[in-house]
Symmetry: C2
Subunit: 339 residues, 2 copies
């Protein structure tokens, strides 16, 4: 391995000088710079990152924490997409991304501990926001820089996070259904512990209330993921005395599951029931019917969170921010107008 000393020797300058040309220190003469740079290239020098990290006490790396694997949930295309978003800025800033690999909550917790105590990373992005989360608490307690994608479960004004206005999005998308003449509208969402679900559902309710339509518990389903339990729930829903004519689903992937169940029971979308959802994942435009869904700009969510985190790590006094990524409803073919 070729070190700074080798380059120094080869150029006849001191190691300090080499270090300075690497940092592009203005006090080094252009001549020397040229010479040193050439030597670096010739010898194939690359700075050793551990050595540098050791002295500068920073790693230029951020940790990305995935939710504990509620199994299939991680197959959600949301994740690769948000990783791309994060990557787009980390790459530009020459940061690297360390991914969590724990599966259970406990494993993840240990991992985050290692990351922060061992100085693996300068900051952390949490890809979930769960009620009463150990990891979050730990990070706060240690005063370690982190940002949440989604809404923190408490201390909303004390934690930098990037989110959509899920309440309003939920409200708007169900208003769309209402505009199309629907009154009986159901909601199918994921875990009630997740803030996304909570917010979107609240928006859904608000829209109904505002329009003076009934909001009934029998119209609301919460299912971790749609295998066994989900199927029955959907069947029950559609065999109510007055089944809904519209459904708000809290996630595109979930929507394709719901779609299948419906069609399987002979219910056609959008002919018999209209369906709207969230995320605007690629999937939602290649499925039939293409989904009317709210585009939450996953990529941007990722990019902004990385940006905010990096700012935070370089400047510890950076103020707390609440970043709201605008959403946009994209109208496709899963909704029909009621007479």
């Amino acid at each position: 391995m070729v070190t700074i000393k080798d380059v120094a020797k080869a150029t006849g300058v001191s190691p300090s000088t080499v270090s300075r040309v690497i940092a592009d220190n203005p006090r080094i003469s252009p001549d020397t710079k040229k010479k040193v740079r050439k030597a670096m290239k010739d010898l194939g020098y690359h700075t050793n990152i551990s050595a540098r990290n050791l002295v500068v006490k920073s790693t230029k790396a951020i940790g990305v924490i995935m939710p504990s694997s509620a199994d299939k949930a991680l197959q959600n295309p949301f994740f690769p997409e948000i990783l791309r978003g994060i990557g787009s800025v980390t790459h530009r800033m020459k940061y690297s991304v360390t991914l969590s690999s724990g599966q259970t909550e406990e494993e993840i917790y240990e991992e985050v501990q290692r990351m922060v105590f061992g100085s693996y990373v300068d900051g952390v992005i949490l890809l979930y926001s769960r009620l009463n989360d150990r990891v979050t608490n730990f990070l706060i307690e240690r005063g370690f820089p982190f940002v949440i994608v989604g809404k923190p479960y408490e201390n909303v004004n004390g934690i930098t996070h990037v989110d959509n206005d899920n309440f309003t999005a939920g409200k708007e998308i169900t208003e769309h259904l209402i505009d199309q003449g629907h009154e009986k509208i159901a909601f199918i969402g994921g875990s009630k512990d997740l803030f996304v679900t909570i917010d979107r559902e609240a928006g859904y309710e608000a829209a109904l209330q505002e329009a003076g339509h009934e909001v009934s518990d029998s119209y609301k389903i919460h299912t971790e993921f749609l295998k066994s339990g989900g199927r029955e729930a959907v069947e029950n829903l559609m065999s109510l005395k007055t089944p809904p004519t519209g459904i708000v689903v809290s996630d595109d992937l979930m929507s394709v599951g719901v779609l299948s169940m419906l069609e399987e029971s002979g219910v056609k979308v959008p002919r018999d029931v209209s369906l709207v959802s969230f995320n605007n994942v690629y999937l939602s435009e290649i499925i039939l019917p293409a989904l009317t869904t709210v585009d939450i700009q996953i990529h941007e969510l990722g990019a902004q969170s990385a940006k905010a985190l990096i700012e935070k790590t370089v400047n510890k006094t950076e103020p707390v921010k609440r970043i709201s990524i605008p959403y946009e409803i994209v109208y496709r073919d899963s909704v029909s107008r009621l007479p």
Copy 2:
């Protein structure tokens, strides 16, 4: 930050001793160990990873390189799943995972360079295998440990890789179609540069040939991803004088696109045409019809590649391996028997 010296001071031993109890060196007496461990706990000591890396010249980290983003392709659930697989073993071995974040081929190449030259990682997993890939060449040239998920484009016996037997899988799944009475079978795949596509397609052809059925170029479609171009191709395919009765699609996600196009043109699956594909991503069981697909065990693919890579990094003389993950066809509802 509490260092080894602090612990040493607190216990009245030398730093070396502390270091040795961390390593659980047998030459340290049980008493001392106990004492030191207590102090570490009390003071909240955690070893600084940069410092250690610097001297042991290893990072216990592996790099995972995603393919350059042929855009939507990365939204394939294949990726989160393989990351989970990798994570399952890295976590167990206390390794960390650094994700590539470059989008273009060029960016990725630079990134890999940084990773290896800067000693960011001990080894690298390539999540793709492309014809004449710069990154691969670079890794070989440098003699840097890496494994490929998929089949290397050359020097197959010189590069450790973990793969399915995609040829046989392709053959078997089309034989299933043939068994069900199909003779006119088409193939829809992704880029011809990707080895998965090539192998699966070759298997498809072999099956047809062996059965004495026609294999025609007009039955083969290659589409980067299924937006505009794909749609026409599929339409053309189905409006041939003798349209296929069965289709082999090289990827589940692609299948849902194909499915939609077909249904949109009034072609029902499996009534009018049967469809089989690959991967067995969660999606394929929640869509309607549920897909008959070959389960390639993505998770295992990831786990084995991580395992092989780690072995390789700890033991440089570890022999080259070709690891073949068994696949299994899972029969669902997208195929119908022809009279």
